[in-house]
C-alpha cells in the first residue's frame, strides 16, 4: 500500500499500463509538457515521448474520433477530455460512433478506448465547466461508465478500463483529485466493473452515493450513528454495468433508501436507481426511495449558489430521516 492522491493514482496506472503494453497511448489537451491541467499525466511525456503522449489541438470531436479510429486499428488509446462538459462538442463521436461501432457493424469490431476526464463542481468554474454528464452514457447503450470515488477506486477501475476491450467513459471528479488514500502497490490491482462497493453495512436505511457522494454518504452515516441510525452505504462504482443485485438486496434488508448524486436530479442516474430498487424490492419498501441531485438550474459560479444547487450533507440527513419516519 502507498498513500496517493486520486490524481497520482490515475497517473501511476496510466504509466504502468503504458509500460506493460505499447498499444496504450494517451492524447488530450495540455497533457504533454504541462502534464494535464490537473496533473494526471505529469511526467509521462518524459518517460514515453511525444508519440505516445500527444498534445492535441482544441478539437474534441476530431481527437475523440481519432481515438476511435486508432482503437479500431488495434491501438488502445486513452483520450483525456479536460472537462467532461466537452463531451458536448464530441457527442457524436462518443454516442453515434464509439458506442455503436461494435454492435452496429455486426459484433466483430472492438473499440478498446478509455475517455477520461473530470467533472463536477468545487472550483468555481461556472455552468459550462461543472456539469456531471454520466447520465447520457447510461442512457445510450454501448459504453461502460466508471465513477471512481477514491484514490484506490481510481486506480483499480482505471486499470480495468484500460484493459477492457469496450469503450469506457471514465469519470473523475475535480474535487477528488487532491484527496489522499491507500492504493495497493500490486501492479495488477484491478477492480471489476459491475460490482458495487458496500462501504458500510447497516440495517436501518441504505444510502447509494456516487463519486463525491460516496464519502459524503459515509460522513452522514457517521453522524447518524450517533443518533442510533444504522446506515448502509453503497457506491455503485460503475453505472454501466450496474450492480443492481447488491442495491436491491440491501434495500430488501433495510426497507428504505436514499440515492444521491451531483448530476441533475431530473432524469438523473438516481431516477434509474430508484426505479430499479422499487421494481426489485417493492414489497420490502417502507417508504418511497428519495432521490437527491442537483437542482434543475445551470450550475452557478458563486460558491454559495453552487452549494445551494447541489445536495449537502444536511440534505442527505433530512432525506434519511424522511424515509425513516414517514
Amino acid at each position: 500500500m502507498s498513500i496517493k492522491t486520486y490524481a497520482q493514482a490515475i497517473r501511476d496506472v496510466i504509466a504502468e499500463e503504458m509500460r506493460k503494453n505499447d498499444k496504450v497511448f494517451i492524447m488530450g489537451e495540455d497533457i504533454a509538457k504541462q502534464g494535464g491541467i490537473f496533473g494526471c499525466t505529469r511526467g509521462l511525456l518524459d518517460e514515453f515521448g511525444s508519440e505516445r503522449v500527444r498534445n492535441t489541438p482544441i478539437s474534441e470531436a476530431g481527437f475523440v474520433g481519432a481515438g476511435i479510429g486508432a482503437a479500431c486499428a488495434g491501438m488502445r488509446p486513452i483520450v483525456e477530455l479536460m472537462y467532461m462538459d466537452f463531451t458536448y462538442v464530441s457527442m457524436d463521436q462518443l454516442l453515434n460512433q464509439a458506442a455503436k461501432i461494435r454492435y452496429m457493424f455486426g459484433g466483430k469490431a472492438t473499440v478498446p478506448m478509455v475517455i477520461r476526464g473530470q467533472q463536477g463542481i468545487g472550483r468555481g468554474n461556472g455552468g459550462q465547466h461543472s456539469q456531471c454528464v454520466e447520465q447520457f452514457f447510461m442512457h445510450i447503450p454501448g459504453m461502460k461508465v466508471a465513477m471512481p470515488s477514491s484514490p484506490s477506486d481510481a486506480a483499480g477501475l482505471l486499470r480495468t478500463a484500460i484493459r477492457d476491450n469496450n469503450p469506457v467513459m471514465f469519470f473523475e471528479h475535480k474535487a477528488l483529485y487532491a484527496t489522499k488514500g491507500e492504493v495497493p502497490d500490486d501492479p495488477e490491482f484491478a477492480i471489476p466493473f459491475g460490482k458495487a462497493n458496500v462501504l458500510k453495512e447497516g440495517k436501518d436505511v441504505t444510502i447509494i452515493g456516487t463519486h463525491l457522494y460516496a464519502s459524503k454518504a459515509m460522513n452522514v452515516a457517521k453522524t447518524l450513528e450517533a443518533e442510533g441510525i444504522d446506515v448502509e452505504v453503497i457506491d455503485p462504482r460503475t453505472l454501466v454495468p450496474m450492480d443492481t443485485e447488491t442495491m436491491i438486496n440491501s434495500v430488501k434488508k433495510t426497507g428504505r433508501a436514499v440515492v444521491v448524486h451531483e448530476a441533475h436530479r431530473t432524469g438523473g442516474p438516481g431516477a434509474e436507481i430508484a426505479s430499479i430498487i422499487t421494481e426489485g424490492a417493492f414489497k420490502y419498501l417502507d417508504a418511497p426511495v428519495i432521490r437527491l441531485g442537483a437542482k434543475q438550474c445551470t450550475l452557478p459560479f458563486n460558491l454559495g449558489l453552487e452549494n445551494a444547487v447541489v445536495p449537502q450533507e444536511d440534505d442527505i440527513i433530512r432525506a434519511v430521516k424522511a424515509v425513516l419516519y414517514q
Binding site: 476530431g62 479510429g69 457493424f105
Partner: protein
Amino acid sequence: MIEKERMIHIFKTMNKIRKFEEKALQLFEQNKLRGSVHLCIGQEAIPATVCSLLRDVDYITSTHRGHGDCIAKGAELGRAMAELMGKATGYCKGRGGSMHIADFTKGNLGANAIVGGGLPIAVGGALAAKLKGTDQVAVAFFGDGASNIGTFHESLNLASVWKLPVIFVCVNNLYGISCHVSESTSVVDIGTSRAQGYNMPGYSIDGNDVITINDVMEKAIARAKAGEGPSLVECKTYRWFGHWTGDPQVYRTRQEVEDWKQKCPIKRFKEYLITNNILTNAECVEIEEDAFNQVEAATKFALESPEPDTSKVMEDVFCEN
C-alpha cells in the same frame, strides 16, 4: 502510372459497383429493400481507382453513399447485398443496413450515416499506423456537403499537425441532397482552396477520369508513406440518381442529369482501355457481363439468406474481455 493489371481491376470494380447499384435500385422498387438507399452510379471511378491503390491493411472510412467504397475495398457482394436486405448473413448481421457496412479485415472501418462522422476515424487509422510504425495509409471518403461540417476541419488540421498518412477524398457530386454546392459551400474548388487552411497539398480534379484520379492519388499516397502528411483530393463528379431512391429531384433539371450521363466514367474508361489496346471491346463486354452475373449471384444469396434471429438482438453490445 497504372499497370495493365490494375487497369483491368479498376474496370472490373467500376462495373461491379454499377451493377450492384442498379440491382439495389430495382430491389428497392420491388420493395425488397427498405430504409435509405443512396446510389453512387456515376461516381464509380473514384472508389474504384482510389481503392486499387490500397491494400487490405490500408484503411478507409466511408459515407451513407458507401456501396461503391465498400465494394472497391474488397467487400463480398453477397454479404453486402444481404446487409442491404437486413439479412443475418450481411456484414452487420442485418443490424446496419445500407449505410453501415464495415469490414475491418479488409481495412474498411465503416460507412457512416453521420455526415462527416468518418473523417476523424480515418485520421485515427492513420494515427495507429504512425504509432505502429507501419506503412499503412488511410483514406477518408466524404461528400461536398460534408466539407462544411466541423469534423472536416478538425480532421484536416489534426492530420496536418501530426503529419499523418491519410488522404481526404472529397467526392464532389455537386449536391448535398437538394442543396447545390454553391449554396452550401463558400469555395468553388474545395480541394485547392481549402487545403490552404491546413498546409497540405490540395487537388480539384475530374472525378470521372480514372487516369487523373490515379495520378493524384499516387502522389498523395507517396507523400503519406514518406511521412510527409495528408493531402486533400477533391474529385468532381455527379450522381445520376436521386439523393436516395425516391427523391423527387425538384432541385435539378433533367437536362443537367442527361449532360452528366454523357460523361459516364465507365464508358470513358472503357474507351480508354480499348483505344490504348488494353482490352478489346469483347473483353470489356465480358467483364460487364461477369459483373452482372456476380451481382445476380449475390442477390440470390441475399434473398435466400435467413432473417436475423430476434432472440439474439441483445448480443454484441459489449464484448467479453
